[in-house]
């Protein structure tokens, strides 16, 4: 992994750098599995190796793959980096050793979560329980950040509609790849079903709204890559997607408001049903649904904004 990172730093061709970035993300995901962080590994594999590489390629298509030979401050950078690296390594002297169970981080709230989350929420995956229930405020805030970022991308890249709407360079090139088209058609339903499985199985195994949303979006993105973004936008209407992105945040927020109206704290799901544990379970399910919808819609919006830009660049002669 270090070697991949070094190669990224050295390589001049941006296309190669982006591809190496994908490999690097996949390696990171494998490392997370080795460290027993299955949920995180899942997210990193889907987001880092999948969507992020794709977005960078789209950006690359718009900005050109070549980088000037401009390591103009490399001496200065090297000095800064070496000094701060040495200071950080000096800082590790006092840190408890790797993988010891007695480190301070494992002493405070974590044992409480592990021992009590089953009784309090009825969810077997502790990560999901913390994500949606104990730290529901954080997750709500992060969801709003994702939503805001997608709105920002839309605002920055808003296109006046391309003149020739049927011009779709990608799709025309893909017409010839019969095998690709058929395999993609077979894969898309499977990906969508898998996304739903990940969404609703998040209580019992690794998974949840964030991963499911990204997988769902990747099915749509795959379709738009092979059949052209015009065809994809006929399948998933742009306005509908925009409304969905807001709807997910609203679902999350209104679950919080409902529990407020029932006389409990904001996002205290115990109030939702007579039995507090059932209420917690229902609340987690609803909140994960909201997360899934917003993340999927936000990713699709971001991808469409990027690919529309590419198409309109091709159409308008510069």
């Amino acid at each position: 992994m270090l070697f991949t990172a070094l190669a990224i730093a050295r390589v001049k061709d941006l296309f190669a750098a982006v591809m190496l970035m994908g490999i690097y993300s996949l390696l990171t995901a494998s490392l997370f599995v080795v460290m027993h962080a299955v949920d995180v590994a899942f997210t990193e594999a889907v987001v880092g190796a999948g969507i992020s590489t794709l977005l960078m390629l789209k950006a690359l298509a718009l900005t050109g793959p070549h980088q000037n030979n401009s390591s103009y401050r490399s001496m200065l950078a090297l000095v800064v980096v070496l000094i701060s690296g040495a200071l950080l390594i000096y800082g590790t002297w006092d840190i408890p050793p790797f993988a010891s169970a007695s480190a301070p981080i494992h002493q405070h709230v974590a044992p409480h979560y592990i021992q009590n989350s089953m009784q309090e929420t009825g969810v077997r995956n502790v990560v999901t329980a913390i994500l949606a229930s104990y730290r529901g405020f954080d997750t709500f805030g992060e969801l709003v950040v994702v939503f805001t970022a997608s709105v920002g991308v839309m605002g920055l890249l808003a296109v006046t509609h391309p003149h020739d709407k049927y011009h779709d360079g990608d799709a025309a090139a893909m017409q010839q790849h019969l095998i690709l088209r058929i395999v993609v058609k077979m894969l898309i339903p499977l990906i969508l079903i898998f996304a739903l499985y990940v969404q609703f199985h998040g209580d019992y195994g690794p998974g949840g709204g964030f991963q499911a949303g990204v997988i769902f979006a990747s099915a749509i993105i795959l379709y738009s890559m092979v059949f052209g973004s015009h065809a994809a936008q006929q399948v998933v209407n742009r306005t509908v997607i925009q409304i969905l992105a807001a709807l997910g945040v609203l679902i999350y927020g209104s679950v919080g408001i409902v529990s407020l109206l029932m006389g409990r704290n904001f996002l205290d799901y115990s109030a939702l049903l007579p039995d507090p544990v059932d209420g917690q379970h229902l609340g987690i399910l609803l909140v994960e649904l909201g997360v899934g919808i917003t993340v999927a819609a936000a990713m699709i919006i971001i991808f469409f904004s990027f690919s529309d830009r590419v198409v309109s660049e091709e159409v308008s002669p510069e």
């Binding site: 992994m1 270090l2 990172a5 941006l14 750098a17 982006v18 970035m21 990171t28 460290m35 027993h36 962080a37 299955v38 997210t43 990193e44 987001v47 969507i51 992020s52 977005l55 789209k58 690359l60 718009l62 900005t63 980088q67 000037n68 401009s70 490399s74 200065l76 090297l78 800064v80 980096v81 701060s84 002297w93 840190i95 050793p97 790797f98 993988a99 010891s100 169970a101 981080i105 494992h106 974590a110 592990i114 089953m118 077997r124 502790v126 990560v127 913390i130 994500l131 954080d138 992060e142 994702v146 970022a149 997608s150 920002g152 991308v153 920055l156 890249l157 690794p206 993340v295 990027f306």
Partner: protein
């Protein structure tokens, strides 16, 4: 004792590579790539802290006592998704800069700014 903290050394090395790319390269897209290497190094820092040798993934099973710490997992899980959203925003900004200035090299952009002043 000293070798016991090798995970942090790997993290620091990655962090410094990311920082180096951000400082030394003038290409804005390359800077975004450097930022995401820096970001991943922080993810690895958190996840490696939550690892306990002999533990298992934090999904409750009967007869298992030792789990790795679930709290950093939650923080990083959401951070990854937020990270891609903000990276997308950065890429969108880069694209707009390319359209306005015709280049994404920092030096050329500064030269054009000086020229126009």
């Amino acid at each position: 004792m000293i070798l016991g903290t090798y995970n942090y050394w790997v993290v620091i090395a990655l962090m410094m590579i990311g920082l180096f790319v951000v400082i030394a390269h003038g290409n804005l897209l390359k800077k975004v790539i450097g930022l995401s290497i820096l970001q991943t190094s922080v993810f690895i820092l958190y996840i490696s802290m939550s690892y306990i040798s002999g533990g298992t993934a934090p999904i409750l099973e009967h007869g298992v006592e030792l789990y790795s710490n679930p709290l950093p997992h939650v923080l990083i899980l959401t951070a990854i998704v937020v990270g891609i959203a903000t990276t997308a925003l950065a890429l969108a900004l880069v694209i707009r800069i390319k359209e306005t200035y015709g280049t994404i090299e920092e030096q050329e952009i500064q030269a054009r700014d000086l020229h126009e002043c």
